[in-house]
């Protein structure tokens, strides 16, 4: 039935590579770090096969700089790292927000803070993805719990980066990055790929790289093309030239935040399992969502009205969707591997925060269905 060439049995990191290639990636710069390294390793081999470029830079800062530079020449770009490297990229990441450079940054999370627990799973960088760089800004961050979804959200990450002219973070985790499972690579065309919107302004006509069109989008012009403009990390006017005019400053800042926050519902991706009549709702994402679904499937089989809302977009946080889905639930359990980063968002989102519970694990081991079951029993008043 299937063309065997399209079925792969690979690691999640490689599924991400496949998604990136499918989306049109043609430039990658990176610096190795566990557990993201396989992304770089596979791209070192894959990219030149299609005429793309792979470069191993001297560090993560340089990698982030290089991808921004390459994006400006008109290429789809990506870098990949893990916690410590993600921290190092924060300054340049903020530059990409400010200068509105499309790029994708994969952070395959490991235990933190600091060097932490490099080869073990964690989901501790969710808030950092949102607030890691200085100053107000907005960001898109996505995640996935299986390789087919890793592939899909990677394509989506590139699409969103191009659509909104923004960096997009892929927040994978060690379990997803390293485990092997099936991936079926879709035919070209099966998943829509958003190409960069280029300006139609003719040579000699004044081009405004930072003046949003009516629909909010900002068409770009490649470096080397006919429009010579300026790109800067300072606040800037519609031509990209530095300005500290208070009006320009506040308008640009609001634009940067609004273009993403105002589109939270369009950007939101999620999956749901058995939510229709659910008394108990598990909200999870990434590898912990696998345990949540596993556990819910088992409980359903025993008649418990339980369902799962799996978030794939973490930022902007889809508060409306979470509120709606949780409206009828007796209890909402957020299943994550950190000290409670998404649960805080969920509490803010729902009408009844007192019914929101956290099932977490922070010891480097994947949270298990039985860990969640224990909490469920306690919520149900059944003790452990």
């Amino acid at each position: 039935m299937n063309n065997k060439n399209n079925i792969k049995f690979i690691q999640g990191n490689e599924a991400c590579v496949e998604g990136a290639i499918y989306a049109g990636l043609d430039f990658f710069a990176g610096y190795p770090i566990t557990p993201s390294t396989e992304i770089a390793e596979h791209l070192a081999s894959r990219l030149p096969q299609k005429g793309g470029k792979f470069i191993q830079m001297e560090d993560e800062i340089a990698s982030m700089g290089a991808v921004i530079g390459a994006s400006l020449t008109g290429h789809k770009v990506m870098t990949a790292t893990s916690g410590p490297g993600f921290s190092l990229k924060q300054e340049a990441l903020g530059y990409a927000c400010m200068a509105e450079i499309p790029c994708v940054i994969a952070n395959v999370q490991r235990g933190g803070p600091s060097t932490g627990n490099p080869t073990h799973v964690s989901q501790g960088d969710i808030n950092q993805a949102r607030w890691g760089t200085h100053g107000d800004h907005a960001i898109i961050a996505m995640t996935a719990s299986n390789h087919q979804d890793v592939f899909n959200i990677t394509v989506q990450a590139f699409n969103l980066a191009e659509t909104y002219r923004t960096p997009v973070i892929l927040l994978l985790d060690e379990v997803i990055g390293h485990m092997r499972e099936k991936l079926v690579i879709p035919e070209q065309g099966e998943i829509p790929v958003v190409e960069r919107l280029r300006t139609s302004v003719k040579k000699g006509v004044d081009y405004h790289p930072y003046l949003p069109r009516e629909d909010g989008r900002l068409p770009m012009s490649d470096f080397g093309g006919e429009h010579r403009y300026n790109v800067t990390g300072l606040f800037h006017d519609m031509w990209g030239f530095p300005s500290n005019d208070p009006k320009i400053v506040s308008e640009l800042l609001r634009h940067l935040v609004d273009k993403i926050e105002n589109n939270v519902n369009e950007i939101a991706m999620y999956k749901e399992y058995w939510l229709d009549d659910a008394d108990y709702i598990l909200i999870s994402y990434g590898s912990s969502a696998r345990s949540a679904v596993h556990m819910a499937r088992n409980r359903r089989a025993r008649g418990v009205k339980i369902g799962v809302l799996e978030l794939q977009t973490l930022w902007p946080f889809p508060a409306d969707i979470v509120r709606e889905k949780c409206a009828g639930a007796k209890a909402v359990i957020v299943v994550e591997m950190n000290m409670g980063q998404v649960v805080t968002q969920v509490k803010n989102a729902v009408d009844n925060p007192h019914n929101v519970f956290l099932a977490n694990r922070v010891d480097g081991e994947l949270i298990s269905p039985s860990d969640i079951k224990t909490l469920l029993r306690m919520i149900q008043g059944k003790g452990v």
């Binding site: 079925i7 049995f9 566990t34 557990p35 080869t119 499972e181 099936k182 994947l366």
Partner: protein
């Protein structure tokens, strides 16, 4: 319909245990249309001590990807046998190599103790295909998947020159395994 299989492969770094586990899972997925997941322990610890690779094979979707209690445990060193024997599911299957492991039969499991290494060395002379022989024995005894599926995977990953050797190792193992099943 096949039951869910949860396997733990264990041994030491150079024995090709991880490769073997991946080949098994890949064959199940690509050539037998099953679902499978493989994962392994990473990092510094894995370098020195014992290596572990988990595989789950099932017809339905697999969510939780880790093996807590394997129903099949393969141990190729004494150290890994000592470490993991206790986690096997009651009534499960335990496959060890008789050169490396002296079993103590303290767990409730079918103990299968085969001279896979010695056979490979005797018949082929190359330790490098030891892991494929183990795979052969495993599927010989368990009928998890068809040997042919394994061969197909090998064809896509191994240089042609080495195929014969690998096939031979697989067959040797398979026969040993099947015989036991017998």
């Amino acid at each position: 319909m096949m039951e869910r299989s949860r396997l733990v492969f264990s041994g030491s770094g150079g024995q090709g245990i991880i490769t073997a586990s991946i080949i098994l899972a890949e064959a199940a997925v690509i050539y037998e249309n099953k679902n499978a997941i493989q994962s392994q322990s990473y990092g510094a610890a894995a370098r020195g001590g014992s290596t572990r690779s988990d595989v789950i094979i099932d017809d339905t979707e697999i969510f939780f990807p880790k093996v807590v209690q394997p129903n099949i445990l393969i141990s190729l060193t004494q150290e890994s046998y000592n470490k993991f024997a206790s986690i096997i599911r009651p009534g499960g299957l335990l496959l060890v190599d008789s050169k490396y492991v002296a079993v103590e039969k303290k767990v409730d499991a079918v103990h299968i103790n085969l001279p896979m290494y010695d056979t490979v060395m005797k018949e082929i002379g190359k330790p490098i295909v030891f892991n494929i022989c183990v795979l052969g024995a495993l599927i010989g005894v368990s009928k998890l998947i068809k040997p042919d599926s394994i061969l197909k995977v090998l064809e896509t990953t191994i240089a042609e020159d080495f195929m014969d050797m690998n096939k031979k190792a697989l067959d040797l193992g398979f026969e040993m395994g099947e015989k036991l099943r017998g």
